[in-house]
Symmetry: C2
Subunit: 480 residues, 2 copies
């Protein structure tokens, strides 16, 4: 947060990485040469070369922005990663730990002893320590808290008390406050004495004696307004105010809607307790979007690409287990109809098509509804309208695709009745998918669960077992 | 862009919507009463009530931020949406069209005649007109261009010339430039004359006579530095610079890494051509994340929740068609083994489990790799490492889940050999899924296609057909 933007263009990111890899590779070549030739008298040379490489690496790493160092660490395999990590000068470790992904952070923290961790965390702002805290050992956190000055200690306690996913967990405490009865001249003189303004200071916060927020004074206004005016005359009296318990997602929507750079966070008495800045919001949005993407792909959390197979297995097993259970249930449904399949083997080949299309179409419905719910676009009164529309789409799909596949089945197996069963089963399974696609998120929203989590697995489970049951049931009724 | 942040707290968003719905509902009640009782003499009363409702709505809508009006329009069914749209005062229509989703924008533009559209677009900045242009009729764009002053006309042409997804398509032209040889006193006086600074002006851009970028002057520095200093002494000489052809995603990563509020955009000669601001970046990130989410759910683009069934069908058919084709291929693979299934019907019940787990695990691999590729974390030299790791995870999964399901099969069907085939087929299908999960994004990245698009469909197609083939093939070999 306190760093000036890095002095580089976008493309140079990969160049830095390649340069670091290059030094590491050269060092590696020397090491393996020495090893292969088994020449102890070369030890001195090797040490010299090694030292030279280390010095070169250090010079390369020194000027980089913490985010760029984080990128390099994430893109290196474990061994090289730790070589680079060892070279990062103390005092920057905290900033870098904040920037790397959770999975990589764990691997780095594992190499540090408690004293190093306390030093790394101690160099950070209170809100940043709070972000790091879940990954630190208990005793390290205690030591860090003990070493903080009173004010920051309270800030850290406050920041740690808010749940993940709330405004409180994202806010910082670097807001600059002024009183409404002073002139802009006084404000300007006060700012000059600060030497440097905290990052993302696009506005000052105007508070009264009780720290109650009275308004905000945008820097842009401060600059264009006559210095003799009072703050009261220049300030914006009302604006977006956030509460620490607000969901971070709501705050993100407010930042997006109103194009904010920073916003005040106030408690229930209207007292200013912190501020939220757009960089924290961007990080939040990115993280959420990554989480959604990973969850949809069946990963519990972000994976270190160089993790061991065992660590990856642990990150992925739960999703596979859930899917195996639903596949097992579907398999038992099929086995109910083993008699029918024995009589007409074509059923076995056709049944995955029916189940598949029901799952795909149910997932389309659920994707649209979960998104609309997240954006707050669905009002209670409109659910019947939505159900009607989704059943309409399913009917259209059923008539069109069911018709096509029905005819294809008829031609392939030269069996009109089988084609008819195929078409009817597809229509009914599509209706089932659409119905579940609305019902599942509706019920979850109704009972105040997150409608996104696991909805897709649930709808697929319904359409798989349901699709097999409908198709094989109809076949048993009409064909055998 | 030119609007001050809305004067409201986050919660009031839904309140506004409910208030609008309430007025609409009351109006609707009056209408249906009059209709039902068929009383022509009440016409006058009805008109009066209607007028009163319209006035009430107008008063409600007037003070709202364009983004809030967009929210209300998106959350209303077609008929009510157009009632509200008709009340929005001319001159704000352009801003609102910018804020609504593509699908809803189409429904709104469809109700406007060319003259209204020219007026709506004409009220916007050049970069904003360019955003709207793809949805406007050709002749409207021509009229808008003709009505613009020379400078803006060129800006619009420039903005429209950049492809979607580039920095050029996101940038605006509201940068304030200063020369390096003037004092901060002069700069301040110049800014005062502007009355108001453009949104997201956190820094001024320092250029020479040829418009070449020399550095930037953060407002925060301008405020804390002695006014007698020259710009040259106070400015930041180097920093992040973007090019109009840069992918927007790279710019978004730079904003995220370096916590930027704005960044200069320069051409190949180093001349300043525009600036990119964090609000445009946030919009871009949100849009991309929505696109990914929609594509993964099988929707071609954002859907108006109140769209007709037919419009929804068109948004969804292509995905269903692709899946039907792959399901059909899988079905043909199964039909190769109809003889085997006829002899051992249990195969029909077990085969979806094998194909399913291969698809799930292949998708896990592909999700992780596509993400790492997007973040630039995978260097060419590490592909063999990745393949080895993924095959390792697949082997672990195969041994564990294959073992469990093998034993379950053995017990259910009292057939050791069938259990063995089940276990082996699961292991091989998992290896196939992992292999394809690495190979597909590798090849697509190699041939410079977006590795994300359709990868999941491809891997599922492979594991479905492959899983059926492996399981039924092994069963035919060993059991019959």
């Amino acid at each position: 947060m306190t760093d000036a933007p890095a002095r580089l263009e976008v493309e140079s990111l990969q160049e830095n990485l390649r340069a670091v890899q290059d030094v590491l590779r050269r060092q590696h070549v020397v090491e393996s040469l020495v090893q292969r030739q088994d020449m102890p008298r070369h030890e001195l040379v090797e040490q010299l070369v090694h030292k030279q490489h280390l010095a070169e690496l250090k010079t390369r790493l020194e000027p980089l922005h913490p985010a760029d160092l984080a990128y390099i660490l994430e893109a290196l395999p474990q061994e090289e990663r730790l070589q680079v990590w060892a070279l990062v000068r103390a005092g920057r470790e905290g900033e870098i730990l904040l920037e790397v992904s959770d999975a990589v952070r764990e691997t780095l923290i594992a190499t540090m002893d408690p004293k190093e961790l306390v030093a790394a965390a101690g160099a950070l702002e209170a809100d940043e320590i709070a972000d790091l805290a879940p990954d630190l050992p208990e005793n390290v956190i205690e030591d860090v808290i003990r070493a903080l000055p009173q004010e920051e200690r309270e800030q850290l306690r406050a920041a740690m008390s808010y749940e993940e996913g709330t405004v409180g967990a994202l806010m910082d405490f670097e807001q600059i406050t002024v009183r409404e009865d002073v002139t802009l001249e006084v404000v300007t003189r006060y700012l000059r004495r600060l030497d440097e303004l905290p990052g993302h200071t696009d506005q000052l916060f105007v508070v009264d004696r009780e720290q109650k927020l009275r308004g905000t004074l945008p820097l842009a206004r401060l600059i264009v307004t006559d210095l003799e005016s009072e703050v009261l005359a220049a300030m914006v009296p009302e604006g977006v105010k956030l509460h620490p318990e607000d969901p971070a997602e709501d705050a993100a929507q407010a930042f997006e809607r109103y194009d904010l750079v920073s916003a005040p966070v106030v408690d229930h008495f209207g007292r200013l307790v912190g501020r939220l800045t757009v960089d924290a919001v961007v990080d939040h949005i990115r993280e959420k979007s990554a989480e959604t993407q990973l969850a949809e792909g069946g990963l519990a959390k972000e994976e270190d690409i160089f993790a061991t197979a065992w660590a990856s297995f642990r990150n992925r097993w739960s999703w596979l287990a859930v899917n195996l259970v639903t596949a097992f249930v579907a398999s038992r449904v099929i086995s109910l109809f083993e008699g029918s399949i024995g009589q007409l083997v074509a059923l076995a080949a056709l049944m995955p098509i029916v189940a598949g299309i029901g799952g795909n179409s149910g997932n389309q419905t659920i994707t649209m509804i979960v998104r609309a719910l997240a954006l707050g676009q669905i009002q209670a009164t409109y659910w019947p309208k939505l159900v009607a529309k989704e059943l309409g789409v399913a009917t259209l799909n059923g008539v069109i695709w069911g018709g096509i596949l029905g005819i294809a089945t008829w031609m392939l197996y030269d069996n009109v009745a089988l084609g008819g069963v195929m078409a009817l089963a597809m229509l009914l399974t599509l209706l089932l998918g659409a119905g579940m696609g609305v019902l599942i998120p509706y019920l979850r929203a109704r009972f105040e669960r997150d409608p996104a989590v696991g909805s897709s697995v649930l709808v697929t489970a319904c359409t798989d077992s349901g699709g097999f049951f409908i198709f094989l049931g109809l076949a048993t009724l009409f064909l055998l």
